[in-house]
């Protein structure tokens, strides 16, 4: 393979097909309510991209992506809530000008960490940076001490639990179990109308494709190869003179920032943020979305997220009892039988067919080293 371009033609076509699907086909085919749902699923796609980099490539399974999704979402929600709580709109409160749940909890002044969120610029910066900062602290503490694998998974899970308990416990500062609700406008622009939701859907889809391309860049660079090498044989990478911990911290921070962006877009489209998107259960679900689509394929993770969520909505509307059975069986089947998810399935069944259709290009086709089933070789730890 002597491809010198950043994106080889095959990948470019795949990205274009995906872009056409979410930016053209779905908006034309679906009614506004359904499209808004798809927009919600797309925000989980951001987390999926991060998980492919972090888990699929580098082999770090984080069960705390909900933390970062939630932090990004809360940053955006705090800004919107402050905008909705003008002194005029809240003049019936005993302290006008602060969010309603603070007033209910006898707070008389805005807490210090809410103040910067009056500014949209600060909020937009905080959405990826706050999650990345927390990921940096966690990563620094864990990876420098060579904590990895199952221990890392359990500790991220514990942190997700801590954050949820904290948010629910500190009602006055966070809105408690209901979360931050009743969000209305973004710089005076009403986000609750159908038109606004359509615009937000396109913003979300466009951002997702930009993030997809960025993640693709990371994967195709030398850095991406080091990540895969770390997954396969961490000690050999270390012996070659690379500081493994720094690469792990970097990719964990990138995954966190992506999740944060997803959370912010989620808040904008759904109109509220609550601790039920932060805890252990949503965090594991996010991992499952990526696993079903294929942990080593960016587009696979996105399709997987869309499909699982679509199935979840359809099933739980019609057959709520069956949904948990189906979901559980799906997890088990994917993990046991298809560790590479849908992407692996497509790769195995479609690639030979395509190769036969275009025999003159068959010898140019790379063997796709990243899709090799590392798990079968006992590589994923």
């Amino acid at each position: 393979m002597t491809e010198s371009r950043v994106l080889p033609r095959k990948d470019l076509i795949a990205v274009l097909i995906f872009a056409a699907l979410i930016l053209l086909v779905l908006p034309l085919a679906l009614e506004p309510f359904r499209l808004n749902l798809v927009g919600k699923y797309l925000t989980y796609g951001f987390v999926g991209l991060g998980l492919v980099l972090c888990w699929g490539d580098a082999g770090i399974l984080s069960l705390g992506q909900g933390i970062f999704f939630g932090l990004g979402g809360y940053c955006m929600a705090m800004f919107l809530k402050l905008e909705a709580s003008t002194p005029e709109a809240t003049k019936i409160q005993s302290t006008p000008g602060i969010p309603d749940f603070m007033d209910w909890n006898q707070l008389t002044a805005l807490p210090w960490f809410w103040r910067p969120f009056h500014s949209l610029a600060f909020t937009i910066a905080a959405v990826p940076l706050v999650p990345a900062l927390l990921a940096f602290v966690i990563g620094l503490a864990m990876f420098k001490r060579r904590v990895g694998g199952t221990y890392f998974a359990i500790i991220t899970q514990a942190i997700a639990a801590i954050l949820t308990i904290l948010i629910i416990g500190q009602q006055g500062y966070t809105g408690g179990v209901n979360g931050i609700t009743d969000l209305r406008t973004l710089l005076g622009w009403d986000i609750r109308t159908d038109h606004a939701k359509l615009v937000l859907y396109f913003v979300s889809g466009g951002l997702l494709i930009a993030c997809l391309l960025a993640a693709q860049l990371v994967r195709r660079s030398k850095l991406g190869r080091i990540l895969v090498a770390m997954r396969e044989r961490e000690d050999r990478v270390r012996f070659s003179g690379y500081d493994v911990a720094n690469f792990k911290i970097f990719v964990f921070c990138v995954a966190a920032a992506l999740a944060g962006i997803g959370g912010a877009m989620f808040t904008l489209q759904v109109g509220f943020m609550s601790p039920s998107f932060v805890g252990i259960v949503p965090s594991i679900e996010l991992v499952i979305f990526a696993a079903v689509g294929g942990r080593t394929s960016l587009l696979g993770a996105l399709y997987g997220t869309l499909l699982v969520n679509w199935a979840k909505t359809t099933f739980s509307e019609d057959l709520p009892q069956l949904w948990l059975f189906a979901m559980g069986a799906l997890f088990i089947a994917v993990v046991v039988a298809f560790p590479n998810g849908l992407a692996g399935l497509v790769q195995d069944s479609l690639a030979p067919v395509l190769a036969r259709l275009r025999p003159q290009r068959a010898e140019l086709r790379p063997t796709a080293p990243t899709v090799v089933d590392a798990a079968e070789q006992g590589g994923v730890r």
Partner: protein, 308 residues
């Protein structure tokens, strides 16, 4: 936060909260013992452990209903049968799960986590379909209720005492099984060096299956004990799973003594703080300090040398 309490009051508060902590400790130990055996020996993360516990709780509930309906004369003693049945039910289910699911995933420990999570979803829905979504409580026989007075201010509930006695008994039995019996020697051999154990003729697959069954069975007993201090709902197991994992990791994954010590530390710290702070803040503080200590000492409190 100590304002307004006299010295004697503080003493009895500490004693009573300490006792509440001991009961919590007992349930933790029963949960964590099974988890530690499974995690320590096989490296498998069993996310469905809470659901195995709840299975034990539901078996106990069924037992109490059956005794109340058909054998009211023997109702006082149904609990002993319930414990045995809970152990068998959870243990057998565990062995079946190991055979059908876990043994295919030994080389991929992170994937066992996802697969057992799927299993836990299925089990939760099974419980919900069979027993309903509402919490069920077990009626305790008369001799298990009430409390004894140690002094005027210190009250000790009897069901707590029974839970503690049960825990001591099970822990002793596990200790004897693992450290004194021939089968335990095989388990320890597999834990320390799987390849060599297999080379000297130990049937590692059989040991794995029985160990997984034993771990799940102990979870069933934990569920049985759990019915005495709380009510059972399909999702109750999930509330305990993270705490239990932290107990196991904090104690050092391969060390049973470490597991007991860390269960003691965590439960005592939590219940003592719970009296002075709100429950959620106590939990946050304890979890935070455990995570902090684990970052400084990732291998846990007690370490057993293991060849991987």
């Amino acid at each position: 936060m100590f304002m307004g309490y006299s010295f004697g009051d503080l003493g009895s508060i500490l004693a009573m909260q300490g006792f509440a902590g001991l009961v919590l400790f007992s349930v933790f130990v029963l949960m964590a013992l099974g988890l530690a055996i499974i995690f320590g020996q096989m490296g498998v993360i069993n996310m469905a452990h809470g659901e195995f516990m709840i299975l034990g709780a539901y078996v106990t509930y069924l037992c109490s209903r059956l005794f109340a309906a058909y054998l009211p004369g023997a109702f006082a003693f149904y609990f002993f049968l319930a414990i045995i049945l809970a152990f068998c039910a959870s243990g057998l289910l565990g062995m079946a799960v190991e055979w059908a699911l876990i043994r295919h995933l030994y080389k991929r420990p992170l994937d066992t986590l996802l697969a057992t999570w799927g299993l836990s979803l299925i089990l939760q829905q099974v419980y919900r379909s069979v027993f309903g979504a509402r919490e069920v409580g077990v009626e305790l026989p008369g001799w298990m209720m009430g409390s004894t007075h140690l002094s005027e201010q210190i009250e000790i509930p009897i069901n707590g005492l029974i839970v503690m006695a049960l825990t001591t008994l099970i822990t002793l039995a596990v200790y004897l099984l693992i450290f004194r019996a021939g089968w335990g020697r095989q388990v320890r051999a597999v834990t320390q060096n799987r390849a060599m154990a297999s080379a000297v003729g130990i049937d590692t697959e059989r040991v794995d299956r029985l160990t997984y069954g034993l771990g799940c069975g102990i979870a069933g007993i934990a569920g049985s004990a759990f019915t005495m201090i709380g009510s059972t709902s399909p999702t109750a197991g999930q509330l305990y799973i993270v705490d239990t994992f932290l107990v196991v990791v904090f104690g050092g994954a391969q060390s049973l003594i470490g597991t007991i010590a860390s269960a003691f530390t965590i439960s005592q710290a939590r219940s003592t703080m719970e009296f002075f702070l709100s429950g959620s803040m106590a939990q946050v503080l304890v979890l935070l300090s455990v995570v902090g200590i684990l970052m400084l000492r990732p291998q846990g409190l007690f370490v057993l040398k293991v060849r991987r």
